[in-house]
Amino acid sequence: MNAWCLTLRLLRQDWRSGELYLLSAALVLTVAAITAVGFFTDRVEATLERQGSALIAADLALESSRPLDVRFADAAQARGLRTARTLEFRSVVMGERPQLVLMKAVDPDYPLRGRLRIGEALDAPDRPVESGPPAGEVWVESRLLRLLDLRIGDSLGVGESRLRIGAILTDEPDQGRSFFNIAPRVLMNRADLDATGLIGPASRVTHRLLIAGAATAIDAYRDWAGSRLAANVTLTDALEARPEFGSAVERASRFLHLATLVTLLVAGAAIALASQRLVERQTDAVAVMRCLGAPRHLLMRVLIGRLVLFGLGASLIGCLLGWLGQAGLLAALADWLGTDLPPASPAPVLVGLATGLITLLGFAVPPLIQLARVPPLRAIRRDLGTPRVSAALALGAAGLALALLILWQAQDLELGLKLLGGVLATLLALIGVVLLLVRLAGRLAGRARGVWRLGLAALTRRPGAAVLQIAGFGIGILALLLLAVVRVDLLESWRETVPEGAPNYFLINIQPHEVEPLRTFLNEAGIATPELHPMISGRLTRIGEHAVEPSDYDNPRAERLASREFNLSYGTEPQPDNRIVAGRWWSQGAEAAPQFSVESGIAETLGIALGDELTFWVSGHEVSGPVTSLREVRWDSFNVNFFVVASPALLRNEAATFITSFHLPAEREAVIAELARRFPSVTTLDVEAILGQVRQVIDRGVLAVEYVFLFTLGAGLLVMYAGIQASLEQRRSEHGILRTLGAGRRTLLSSLAVEFTAAGLLAGLLASVFAEATGWLLAEQIFELEFGFNPGLWAVGVLGSGLAIGLAGTLATYPLLIHPPLRALRGGNS
């Protein structure tokens, strides 16, 4: 007969009979979680990219300290991409007196993404404009007008030219967020640049080529240009344009993928349990079909075909739910992301379908292969039982599917491998410990009496089934406890990386004589006395015996660091948010010998090792000392930090300015105005906006992660339900026999309660151990957050699990006690 015809008929009938509900619920949940996260991250990344594009005024930017090869612009135009060039440099403009400014000369098409905003007068509201100033005109920051006492319409001396001030520049998309851009900005047309005579061959200019256009052309161009970049050229992507969000967005994405993976693992366990039950329920049917002459290859085709069709159907429903799920999530985050999001790509649907099928095939095919091997004799001899699944086959297939999915879904080899190792170790440990505990329960059962004996014996009668069931319960509870660990502990730790009182103001250019008066002023203003750090400019000239030349470095960041002046500081103690990762901090305080402590990231970039002698050029002379420690710095703490810190002996006699940061509540902004009046030379930088944005990313990220964990919660409950259901078939006939022998309902109910509570306690104990271990591992190894052990978790885990599973299991199996025993003895058909 046509195998497809039989497949479709059996699938339809299985669905009607409800045998596939549990399996489909597990599958739909897995696929929904995967696709929801897929759609969500897809669209959020596209949004960030769009926001990022606005921040670099383009989709891609090439940057160099030397003029860019013209073939980069030609190649972009040949691909139908739009281009614009900008040149940025420091210069002095002339009003009534000279003033240092940051000059930017731009093409007429600038900006390619985002908008400039200009105002027509000092107090007039600003408006967006599509392109930069016309030839003969400059747009300037309002500060410049105040500093030089100029007005709109006046002319400004720029090199050898005089250009008309056409508007007040209020916002530039690619202005950058460097704290130290304190010179007023001036925007001019590139056509006027030659006439000014400001740019010569040795001028220090940042040349940029901005590129924008269709995503596919941009991708192709990025690949083309990426392989042709000279050592001094950097390529900036829109996504890299928001470094201050990098850490938060990356953590959010890791959390989301972790949540998805946990859902996948837990739902996988539910799928395995549900498949086992399906096999038990279908053994008779397959035996009869074999009696009726169905060959094994036909049965195999029918069983696998049915599974694939079912898997596709359930996965499609999962995709639909995933789509709805991400729509809900995006609606919840509309205030952050906006409502006008780019559409999602269809990729998550394919990922969802593939995940559904791989999960199903990995977990359900081994039992089905065994099902096709049911001996036809089973039709007349029920004592032959259900076919045993080869442990090697079942573990091998499930392990392979899991490995494939984890490595694929984690999108991060390190996270994937750690998770995979953790999962395999957990499963093996879980199975080993459950076997041990089940044996122990068996011994207890031998000494127990009455319902205790019945209940404990039920656990040990079928050790394989008990291990599967308790492992299933354990995984379910583990998922729930992990939710508690991640939700309460990990997410809270994440939030605390930018605590409520994080500094939102920086004060720089504080002269030494202003340090004490400023400290007093801040004290009187009720601001907790912040530490004022000395800051000394110095240029790194030698590492050991090697002279440092920018051209020695291929890495553009290293080149930049080698060519600029470092802000050095000195101190007796390391900053609280610094962690020494190599060497030792000087312990003799102010008396310590000359030495340096270097931030580990910059040490790696510049090739500085512990013990290297560093030489800086400071105020006209050399300052040298060995590197005695390397530090990790938490830059997202918003505290003042330095790449290089020296022992006081080395720098305390150098001319320094001071810098500090503090937190000021929004309602007390008047303090800043007073500070500006009392200390006019001190520059105040307000980072509240950046801080707020980072905090918002974290808050929204936490919300998104919690939302996705709802799927995990569902999967956890489902796996426990599957665990209870798994033993229902066998229980049915056992209860029939026990009741026929005169066991009362109360006795059986009590024995059920003993059995399920014991299983729950065992599972809870195991789950608590693994939840704590996993939480610690995730916090320390993956998310680099602090982790505190939580004794409350153990109480809730063990007692809660015993109570919940005891109650749920007893309630779920209670209906078996209501039906007449004869029905149970006759089998499931009647």
Binding site: M1, C5, L6, R9, L10, Q13, D14, R16, S17, E19, D284, A285, A287, V288, M289, R290, C291, L292, G293, A294, P295, R296, H297, L298, P375, P376, L377, A379, I380, R381, R382, R826, G827, G828, N829, S830
Partner: protein, 231 residues
Amino acid sequence: MSDQAASAVSQAIGLGKHVTGPAGGLTILAGLNLEIYAGEAVAILGASGSGKSTLLGLLAGLDDPTDGEVWLCGRRVDRLDEDGRAELRAGQVGFVFQNFQLLPTLTARENVLLPLELTGTPDAARRADEALNRVGLSARAGHYPRQLSGGEQQRVAIARAYAPRPAVLFADEPTGNLDQTTGEHIIDLLLDLRQETGTGAALVLVTHDPRLAERCDRRLRMHDGRLEPLA
């Protein structure tokens, strides 16, 4: 192949079945010989555990013998692999079980259709309807097994067994789970349908029930792993 085997629809020659368990070896059948011819009804009686069902399983090619030969419809079953036996059973062999063994997820009609579809019978639907009609269950064709009484389920099983017009029908305690009145009705159906199908199907019946055995052409008793004819 022997001449006898050619004329018998089912034949066992020197059949033996020996199993080894934790308590040692156990001989269920030893040197058993049996021939069943087209159209005859043979009853196999015997005490519980005498090996009746084992013999039935071996004759139908559901199990492997330890010794001897088993022939079914002219082919030596014990030399075939499982798929070869399945192919032989499809269409040639019908079964009726003590516990009915209907597929719970299929309706009565779909249960009867199943063996016809497995053999690719062209007018499967018509024949399934006829078979259900004959056992008096046309009105319940769309019901699932759980919605049918024990007797009704066994009638569906009989319709399923006869619908492909098999050469031989094996019945394992077909009235074992039924009350006396229903059991008699089932016996009538089993014997009547054998005549009506016109194929001259042989019927091999394993039973405890002497009334059922009385109505068969031949009665054999299982004893010490061998068969003895009963008067």
